[in-house]
Structures are given as structure tokens and as C-alpha cells.
């Protein structure tokens, strides 16, 4: 690439990066500011004190919320990995009558938006007595058509000979699934796991519906509480809360960005 062309691209890259990351940067800066500094409209805080961070943990049971979010996200992640990998295994390695029909059923779930079914689901959770429980926040999300397709895509690349060889070696179906298929599919499992964790951590509407006390409430609802409690002068505390909430998922994304991109494109398009 020619030198002037490079300059143009670097300018575009830097400018876009600045614009796109500005809200996060700004929130980060504000989380260190005093009320007075925020009113003056400064961009850099005078000193980097963690006062706002201490205060947000006093104001809300934020630690409890963080643990809740972690338990719920990890729970959905593990549940999805188990349920989806089992289904994908059946679709790829077992030929049976009615497979196409069941596959069609899976596809059809993708056309039903979660929000269109939330009213009966809310009552189901109530009847199961799962309001304010981890089960209520996790179990409804274990089955995922997208996740099944993503894993199915990867399982299909595993040579059928491996299956035949395993049968000759006297491996049971489950042993083949557990000891051969899952280990060689690590990358797809990691992709789906990261995706599941990320989307669950960021979930908003469902936790809002099925929690009404601090017992299992997640950080996202904590942010809503924080924002509705605070008056304008306390924005530093609010932003400290925001930073605490986004750090785990940003870290996860930064580590797994390449992997996630590859996995999602495959799952989505092929």
C-alpha cells in the first residue's frame, strides 16, 4: 500500500476508534471525578481516586449482584453447552426417522421472538415457584437453536471414519460423544460458551420480570436501580457502577474476539 493511502487509512481508523470508544472512555473518566468536576464539564479528573467505586459498593449490594450475574451467566453457559452439544450430536451422528422434522422444529424456534412469549413464560416461572431463583433466570435459556447449529456445523467436519473406528474399538455412543467428539470440538464449544456468557450477562428484560428482591438480582438491574436513585450530582458513582459491570464482558471479548468472530460467522452463514 502506498504511503499517502496508508495515512488516509490510519486517519480513518484512529478517528473512528476515537468516536466509537469515546462514550466508554468518558464514562471511565467520570467514574473518577467529584461532583464539582462533572458539573464543570471536565474530561480528565484532577486525581484518580476510587471514592466513587467505594461508594457504589456501599450504595448497592453490588458485590451480591456481581456474584448473581456470574452464577447466572456461568449456569446458562454450561447448560447451553450440554443441551446444545447433545442435540447437535444426535443430528450429525445418529440417522433416524423424523430427523428432518425435528430439525425443522429447531429452525422454527428461531422465528419466535422471546418477547412474544414472555407473558406465558412469566406465569410458568411463577407456577413453578421459580421467581427469585437461579433456575428461573437460567433454565429457560438452556436450549438454543443457534447454538445447536453452530456445534452441528463443527461436528459435521469430523470424519465419519472416526465414528466407525470407535465402534470397532468397542466404544459406546456416549463414550464416543464424551471422549472423542467434545475434545476435538473445543474451539466451537469455547465460542458458544463465550457467546452464551456474554449474552446472559447482558440480559435485561427477563431478570427485570422474574426478580423482585436482591436475592438473585443481576448487575444489569442494579444499574437501573442506581440510575433511578441518583440525582445529577452523583453521576460519578453511577459511572463507577457502569465500569464495574462492563469490565468482565469487555475482558472476555478482548480475549476471545478472534475466536468469537470466526465462530459466529461460521454458525451464522453456513
Amino acid at each position: 500500500m502506498s504511503f499517502p493511502k496508508k495515512i488516509v487509512f490510519y486517519f480513518l481508523l484512529l478517528f473512528s476508534a476515537f468516536l466509537l470508544f469515546f462514550p466508554v472512555m468518558y464514562a471511565f473518566m467520570i467514574s473518577f471525578m467529584t461532583g464539582g468536576e462533572i458539573m464543570q464539564g471536565k474530561f480528565f479528573p484532577q486525581t484518580f481516586t476510587f471514592d466513587n467505586y467505594f461508594r457504589v459498593f456501599e450504595r448497592l449490594p453490588l458485590m451480591k449482584y456481581l456474584i448473581n450475574s456470574f452464577v447466572v451467566s456461568a449456569g446458562v453457559m454450561i447448560g447451553q453447552l450440554i443441551v446444545c452439544s447433545m442435540a447437535a450430536y444426535a443430528f450429525v451422528f445418529i440417522s433416524f426417522k423424523g430427523r428432518d422434522f425435528i430439525f425443522f422444529l429447531f429452525i422454527s424456534t428461531m422465528m419466535i421472538p422471546w418477547e412474544a412469549t414472555m407473558i406465558p413464560n412469566f406465569f410458568t416461572i411463577q407456577k413453578l415457584d421459580w421467581t427469585n431463583t437461579y433456575q428461573g433466570l437460567t433454565v429457560p435459556f438452556f436450549a438454543l437453536a443457534f447454538g445447536t447449529f453452530l456445534l452441528r456445523q463443527h461436528f459435521k467436519t469430523i470424519p465419519k471414519e472416526l465414528f466407525e473406528a470407535s465402534q470397532i474399538a468397542g466404544l459406546s455412543r456416549f463414550a464416543f460423544f464424551w471422549r472423542v467428539i467434545l475434545p476435538v470440538s473445543k474451539t466451537s464449544l469455547v465460542t458458544l460458551g463465550a457467546y452464551g456468557f456474554l449474552t446472559t450477562w447482558n440480559m435485561y428484560l427477563w431478570p427485570l420480570l422474574v426478580t423482585n428482591n436482591d436475592q438473585v438480582r443481576t448487575v444489569q438491574i442494579g444499574l437501573k436501580q442506581l440510575q433511578s436513585q441518583e440525582v445529577a450530582t452523583e453521576w460519578g458513582v453511577v459511572m463507577a457502577g457502569v465500569i464495574v459491570v462492563i469490565i468482565p464482558t469487555l475482558l472476555l471479548l478482548f480475549i476471545g474476539q478472534k475466536q468469537l468472530q470466526k465462530g459466529l460467522t461460521q454458525g451464522a452463514l453456513k
Binding site: 425435528i102 421472538p113 428484560l205 460467522t265
Partner: protein
């Protein structure tokens, strides 16, 4: 005696033949059970409830036929919500896809340090709708917010971003576009990287410029990914809720009362589960149409390798 042994034999062979189906069902059972309880049953239940008036516990109380639907179609509030949703889709989808495409194009160049930019561009995917909305709530703040500070710096009149009915939906759309950029960018970048580099090399030999390559190679080859991301963005736009709940609560004067927010309020604030279900059916139909259109035209109109 003979007969029974034959039938026994037949039975056992059916039993054997169905071995595969039975094992498959065992592996599929968790998915099927969960889909039945949390997707199929509630979908039918929603349709069923949309023909009834309900009590406070969401049980069907009085059959009213299509009255919930006719009520909705005549209701100013619902029409308003439809209008807001359509406008919201128009504001967010084209702009969001174009922005993400632009970012994916510049981040697909082979330059030093490009990994850093890719990470930054995909970063909003790791940010929740609640966190993003709280940050934007501050940016839009009438007095301390950055936008109005910037405007007054330029000697322009201040804007009541979230409080002015003419601006509120646009403001919410801006924050939504920002939030969705990360995901769209990541998918489009993946699509770009899947394009065979050989195509560009032969174009270069023919002396084709950047724009020519973009028009004749990149966009056609990227069309399946583009189409996919447009569909996902459309569906996402229809499903938006968190930003409304935190930024505007559907106001001012219902200018941002998007359909999911409207369903939420109707069901869990007003306890009108019948009309809420009718709205949910409407949402379902909208998304169904989008998905069917994708299946129908997506495959034909776009270029596959």
C-alpha cells in the same frame, strides 16, 4: 403359538430398528422439552390469550374473539407505537449496517496494529444495553451532558435530546446504533475475511482501483453476510426494550413507546394480558415476515461462492 412368536420377532426387530431413533431422542430430549415448555407452549398460549380478557393472574376469563385486535387497531396508542417502531427500524437499521460495513472495510486492511482497532470496534458487543443506556443518558443530559456542552461551545441552541418528542426517538436510535455496531462489525469483518484473496490479486493485475474492487468484488461477495446482518438488525430493532426503559420510559408523549415496551407496560403495569398478548402476536408476525423474506429472497438475490 407360532403366530405369537412371529409377532414377538417382529416386535423385537421394530424395537431394534428403532434403536437409533430412541437413542437420538434421548440426546434431543432436553432441547425438545425446553423448547416445548419455553417456546412452543407459550407461543400458542399467547395466541390463545389474545382472544380473551384475562384476570390479574393471566388466566383467560372471557372470550372476546377478535375484539382485542380490533381494539388495538383503533387505539391511538397502539398505532403510535407501531409508527414509532417503524421509524426506529428506519433510523437504526440502514445507518447501523452502513457504519458497521465502513468499519469492517477499514479494519480489513493489512496494516500494522490493525488488531487494536478491531478490538475497539467490536468492543460495544461486550457492553450491555443497561450500561450503554446509562452512559448515553448522561451524554444526553440537558445541562451536564456532552452533546449540549458541545452545542453551546459552537454557539448553537441546546436540544432537549430525550425530552423533546421530535428528538427523543432519534436520540434513542443513535445510542442503539452505537450499541449494535460491535456485533455487526464482527460478523461483517468475518465475511470480508472469507473472501478469496485471489480475486483481488487478479483484479489488481487488471489495474482495478479501490472503488472498482469494492463495487465489483467486495460488495457482491459480501452480500450473504450483509443480508444476514440486515435481517438480524431488523429483528433486533423490533425487540429493543432496555434502552427505552432506561432512557425514556416510552415518553415523551409516547414518542418512543416501541412495541416490546408497549407489550411490557400493557402486561406488567396495566395487567391487560389479553391486549398485551394481541400485541405480542403482532410482534411475532412482524418477525415472521422478516424471517420468511430472508429465506425466500435471501438465497436468490445474493451471490454465493
Amino acid at each position: 403359538m407360532k403366530e405369537s412368536s412371529v409377532s414377538l420377532l417382529a416386535k423385537s426387530s421394530i424395537w431394534k430398528k428403532s434403536l437409533n431413533a430412541r437413542t437420538a431422542l434421548l440426546y434431543l430430549f432436553p432441547s425438545i422439552l425446553l423448547f416445548s415448555v419455553f417456546v412452543f407452549y407459550p407461543m400458542f398460549r399467547t395466541i390463545y390469550l389474545s382472544f380473551f380478557l384475562t384476570d390479574q393472574h393471566g388466566s383467560a376469563a372471557l372470550f372476546v374473539g377478535l375484539e382485542n385486535y380490533t381494539y388495538l387497531l383503533e387505539s391511538q396508542a397502539f398505532r403510535n407505537s407501531i409508527k414509532a417502531t417503524i421509524l426506529f427500524v428506519l433510523y437504526t437499521v440502514p445507518a447501523g449496517v452502513i457504519l458497521a460495513l465502513f468499519l469492517a472495510l477499514i479494519a480489513n486492511e493489512k496494516l500494522r496494529g490493525i488488531g487494536f482497532f478491531r478490538t475497539i470496534y467490536s468492543s460495544t458487543m461486550g457492553i450491555s444495553v443497561a450500561a450503554s443506556s446509562v452512559v448515553w443518558l448522561f451524554l444526553f443530559h440537558p445541562s451536564v451532558g456532552m452533546f449540549n456542552r458541545f452545542l453551546s461551545l459552537m454557539n448553537l441552541p441546546e436540544v432537549q435530546w430525550l425530552l423533546d418528542p421530535d428528538w427523543a426517538l432519534l436520540s434513542v436510535s443513535i445510542s442503539t446504533i452505537w450499541l449494535n455496531t460491535g456485533f455487526s462489525f464482527l460478523i461483517l469483518l468475518g465475511g470480508l475475511q472469507n473472501i478469496d484473496g485471489y480475486l483481488y490479486e487478479s483484479a489488481k493485475i487488471d489495474g482495478a482501483g479501490y472503488w472498482y474492487q469494492l463495487r465489483r468484488i467486495t460488495i457482491p461477495m459480501l452480500s450473504p453476510t450483509l443480508f444476514f446482518i440486515i435481517t438480524i438488525s431488523l429483528i433486533n430493532a423490533f425487540q429493543s426494550f432496555g434502552q427505552i426503559d432506561i432512557l425514556t420510559k416510552g415518553g415523551p408523549s409516547q414518542a418512543t413507546n416501541l412495541i416490546v415496551y408497549s407489550i411490557y407496560r400493557e402486561a406488567f403495569v396495566n395487567y391487560q394480558f389479553g391486549t398485551a398478548s394481541a400485541q405480542a402476536v403482532f410482534l411475532f408476525l412482524c418477525i415472521l415476515i422478516v424471517t420468511i423474506l430472508q429465506f425466500k429472497f435471501g438465497e436468490r438475490k445474493v451471490h454465493y461462492q
